[in-house]
Symmetry: C2
């Protein structure tokens, strides 16, 4: 759908136009005029002949000129006929502000479906309904009734802002423009009956005036579309900054969303955003500040930060924040000390943070001189300059030194300024400069970290949707045979046979129907063995006493056989016993869990975590949408908190992570290949052995599609 | 030391006074005058006869009137003679701005010691040196050269602010006063040669004009003094809000501090602050915003929050934040829905967050009406009102509704306002009101959470320094005998004997010198047993192969004996073998660690954590200063992330936490009783059994004072 004319209309009709500033139609008209719209405006309202001296048409069809976009601000009931008129007049773009659609219950939802159908019939691109509209900052086209438009002027820039909350969208625009942060476009699409956030993302990815896209997100309609736009943005190196609201269960409920998969929907967003190079922020102010930093600054080559400060305490605060956020604050090179001692003979050694407080009293220009030398240090990928209480003219000087300094520095230079209104003259200069500037140390560090992470995202092999090549193809015949078995929940042995068909190492094992068979199998496998009940009704064997481990000989095996039989009969009398699984006792190792779940938003997702408490208590898991690439698998392993346990601690040898990567990729491939037949896979545990020792799946649960 | 006249001097001498605004002495003079000091000012400077028309004295001794406080702004070299003159003239208070003391290396440190000695000799209370000074906002006495004093006026209030960073102190004052947040006093004590932050804290605790104390802290000089002031503040219900900088290793290095104990100094601060009811914040802006919230609001009775919002997205953001911070966002009572449907017939059900967006378009006054009814809901302990983009006059109305609403609400009402300068008129009203008001949702929630936590702190039994009563007294004779043994590191059996003397349950065990003795002991204790090497040189038995567990019979015991002997001879040939410890195999249970470490700042601290990876990888520990009370012990157990594992998960029975509390208190008592003799205690693991089953110390390491 071509929405170019929706965002840059040369002729606009306003249906429901009014001279009254208390009506939406009046505000739309006023805002367009006041902010300098240069195209044609055709007010439409049967009640008026003219509005503010401009001829007013009774109906859209009466306008004797072509119209690029129609703004509709009439009660919901009147919208359909207007849409039909637009259709007849071949108007291809509409913004519908009217409420009374899906936000109001069943009747409204039906009305919205009808609206969408009409739009489709006439091929009209619709923004809304129930929206605050669109602002084109580049061409001064304010098609919105947001009170933000009470602002005296619109500051154009290179950030496109898509907000699924109209009220917060206007609020953030107001705040960002207070700080002189410019925008290319603002879109708040309301109920998204036709056009959704992803459509606008796609447009802005190709829009030459947009360098950064920021999104205030409540929910995604089509994950596929959203991620395609994200992948394309990554290719074009246009960062997408997202604040996703509705993170907690309570928040999601409040957002009216109905997600909440096993792994927790928010963790899924985290994983998928990471996978597709989408920058996630956790606070409204971080959203526009980070976007502004991206639009101004080059990317750092790494995460090593040099701090130049005129406040000792401020330097410490920055250092704390950086380290807490996984950045590093290394010592400067000794060359830097020598070079600086030439600038200021009293310097002996230079530290990081480099505190100039004492020296600045005598020579304010020192900041400028030191900045260049300090920033030249090869130990630093980026520089933060910290400024505190300097008032009036002194604040202007300090700002100038930093802004001038930036010209001669070939790495990102950020500034944190701790003071308030007394430093306003200098801060104002900073805001107008190309130096990313922050009033909070936390926001400064958050933004710099986002740039550093994005530098990694955007330089790694593309994490798109293609299936990784070069993998061992599965044994398709065996896969089909196994999946044709009737039960919806596969028994452990069937599940493992399916894993084995995908070349995933599993325990040696076989099923016996009675004690004699069980004895024979154990003899063949070799003691010690484990004995497990097999029944589609028993998914948690431990809970019913259906499992005995580490059986050393035939006597222990027989005892276990009898105990399990009795226990299961007592605890799960309804269970259909399909036999007993005799299994080699896999030697101990590090236990991990690999699983596939179905996320309502993103479809099949793969989960990785350490076994036991790490997943259950600490929710320490990493998640990606399938398919994953090798790079994703490594990132999944490295991003969990417990990674140190896999890497090897206290001189212990590391574990065979290459083998884990292979399993992750194989399971991801299973999920893709079998996406119409398998709903859930849970390998728990997969035992990982020291480096070179491989892995072994010890238990697994596979649930087919359509299972209850 | 009485510092009343230092903070409220009726007559001030300025040594180094000047007419030049670029000199510290000139700025001090100007600031005093400009901000309306009503007392006497005596400029002192041999170079001038008068300053701005006021007579100038060559020396302090020449002033023919009594002087309450002297402000010294001369080079460090000239300070000593001035101090002597002050001594002779019986001036008891001084603020020394001069630099060139401990901040400048060895020579400066010596000069500072000399200064402190002089102050002591003459009984002069000194603020500084190298400080930006003191501001008394109540009486308009600006004894500082901070550029903050370029502000047009000083806004008095009830917050006393102690800042160990002069530059950040001024910056925060500027920001806070921009938001109309008033102060009683500001003190920045620089190098703290004589008066330290705790002295001022103590003063402000008793000062009737101060209701809240906020501290920007880099380090504590005397922990005892600091905590006494904190305890007294808690008694007086005057909250102390602290931002501690230098949290990370890099930050601490930058702060020039030399702490860094085993448990990590920052975790110690966290624990001790909690123990003494000190509110800790993590951001500069949170510091004054939280202080302001305390100074304006009553405390909430709990952590259940009702959200009334004019932005759906904003309500979701607040709900997310609250839940992420351990607060709750419960559903409203059904009565509230009924009551609200009387106010607005179109309401059917009311949710939390309660989103008024749609309704407000038709009736802006609705906010007011709904606020009262909604806030009356007994499911809520506090209310947050969220406001977004309303401009100009509408913003004034919205603010008025909230402020009026507050009058009739008997619980805390906070406001988050998401917009920017277009809402300035309304925001301005908010700032001047008694409603805690925030421009960031995160800051709003942080402050409310701080109030809720403080409500708990301040209502619990006082956590002071008294030893808990009613405990079983230790077996002193046995304790003395054990501690008189020569080795600096106690062997495991000695350590456990010491634990046992404090009634801490330990494993049954005995030491045998040879295989025959070992066999006999095992026979007596009963199999299975563990066998461990005993040597003061072997503190980690596993590392040298000096440990075998779960020995089932005499054969296994003998094999283990031989293996251990060989292994230790190979791996630790220098070890002095004192025998073999034969120990009952304690049944499995949940493993925890209890330890005592010596913190350089706070002395002996007690640490609690879950065994293994929880402590080693996740640093999931709780820490308190000893002695602890029963309440502290419970809080220590409950605050670790792994608490759920102790409470019992997935229907599992909980563990015997009462028994853990007893051990924590006993170990705390050990640390106090033996503080001159024992440096470190490490019980690892203490096995905890299901409720009623008690605990058992399985291994322990006790290091005496003076050990290498």
């Amino acid at each position: 759908m071509n929405i170019d004319k929706l965002l840059k209309p040369g002729a606009i009709a306003i249906v429901g136009a009014s001279g009254s500033p208390t009506r939406v139609g009046g505000r739309l008209y006023n805002n367009l005029i006041r902010h300098g719209y240069q195209g044609e405006i055709y007010p439409v309202n049967p009640k008026h002949d003219s509005i503010a001296g401009r001829k007013c048409y009774p109906r859209v069809g009466d306008i004797p000129h072509p119209v690029d976009a129609v703004l509709i601000a009439v009660p919901a009931g009147a919208v359909f006929s207007i849409m039909e008129e637009c259709g007849k007049k071949e108007i291809k773009n509409a913004v519908i502000y009217s409420s009374g659609y899906s936000e109001t219950g069943a009747e409204g939802r039906a009305r919205q479906q009808q609206l969408a159908a009409l739009a489709k019939r006439f091929g009209i691109a619709v923004c809304g309904p129930n929206c605050v509209g669109i602002i084109n900052f580049r061409d001064h086209i304010a098609m919105s009734f947001s009170q933000f438009l009470n602002a005296p002027e619109l500051i154009p820039g290179h950030i496109a802002f898509i907000s699924q909350s109209g009220a917060l969208g206007g609020s953030l625009l107001n705040r960002a423009q207070d700080k002189k942060i410019g925008f290319s476009y603002f879109v708040s699409g309301g109920n998204e009956a036709v056009l959704e956030a992803s459509d606008f993302m796609e447009y802005f990815v190709s829009d030459p005036s947009t360098r950064v896209i920021m999104v205030l997100l409540e929910g995604i309609r089509s994950a596929e579309k959203f991620l395609q736009a994200a992948d394309r943005a990554l290719e074009m190196k246009k960062p997408i900054i997202v604040m996703k609201v509705g993170k907690t269960e309570v928040g999601r409920k409040a957002a009216g969303s109905h997600t909440g998969s096993l792994t927790g929907a928010d963790a899924v967003y985290d994983g998928v955003f990471r996978q597709h190079g989408i920058v996630r922020v956790d606070d409204l102010d971080d959203l526009y500040l980070t976007a502004a930093a991206f639009s101004k600054s080059r990317l750092p080559a790494g995460n090593r930060v040099g701090i130049l400060t005129s406040t000792g305490g401020g330097g410490v605060i920055l250092a704390d924040r950086l380290v807490e956020n996984g950045m590093s604050v290394p010592d400067p090179l000794s060359e830097t000390s020598s070079a600086l001692s030439e600038v200021v003979p009293s310097f002996t050694a230079v530290n990081n943070p480099f505190d100039l407080t004492a020296q600045l009293i005598n020579d304010p220009q020192l900041f400028h001189k030191c900045l260049e030398v300090f920033a030249d240090d090869n130990n630093f990928d980026a520089i933060i300059a910290a400024v505190s209480m300097v008032a009036g003219e002194l604040s202007v000087k300090r700002a100038s030194y930093i802004i001038e300094g930036m010209q001669s520095i070939d790495k990102p230079l950020f500034t944190w300024w701790a003071a308030g209104s007394l430093s306003a003259p200098g801060m104002d200069l900073m805001e107008r400069s190309q130096v990313p500037y922050f009033s909070s140390a936390a926001q400064c560090v958050n933004a710099l970290k986002a740039l550093a992470e994005y530098a990694v995202f955007s330089s790694r092999p593309r994490a798109g949707v293609s299936t990784p090549a070069g993998r061992i193809p599965p044994d398709s015949h065996r896969v089909d045979t196994l999946l044709q078995l009737p039960a919806a929940i596969m028994t452990e042995d069937q599940g493992k046979a399916l894993l084995a068909a995908y070349s995933i190492p599993v325990t040696r094992e076989a099923v016996g129907a009675d004690l004699q068979k069980v004895r024979g199998i154990a003899q063949r496998i070799g003691f010690p063995v484990a004995l497990k009940i097999l029944s589609p009704q028993v998914t948690h064997k431990t809970d019913v006493g259906g499992l005995r481990l580490d059986l050393a000989d035939q006597d222990e095996l027989e005892a276990a056989y009898n105990e399990i039989s009795t226990a299961v009969q007592q605890n799960a009398p309804e269970a259909d016993i399909q036999g007993f699984l005799v299994q080699e006792m896999a030697p101990a190792g590090r236990e991990v869990i690999i699983g596939i779940n179905h996320d309502p938003q993103f479809g099949p997702v793969i989960m990785f975590g350490l076994g036991g408490i790490f997943v259950e208590i600490l929710k320490d898991v990493s998640i990606r949408r399938v398919p994953i690439q090798e790079q994703d698998a490594w990132e999944m392993i490295r991003e969990i908190k417990g990674y140190r346990l896999l890497k090897g601690v206290r001189g212990e040898k590391g574990y065979d992570l290459k083998a884990v990567v292979d399993v992750l990729i194989a399971v991801s491939q299973m999920a893709v290949d079998l996406k119409d037949r398998v709903r859930e896979i849970d390998i728990n545990p997969l035992i990982v052995y020291p480096d070179g020792g491989g892995v072994k799946a010890v238990d697994c649960l596979i649930i087919k599609k359509g299972a209850p």
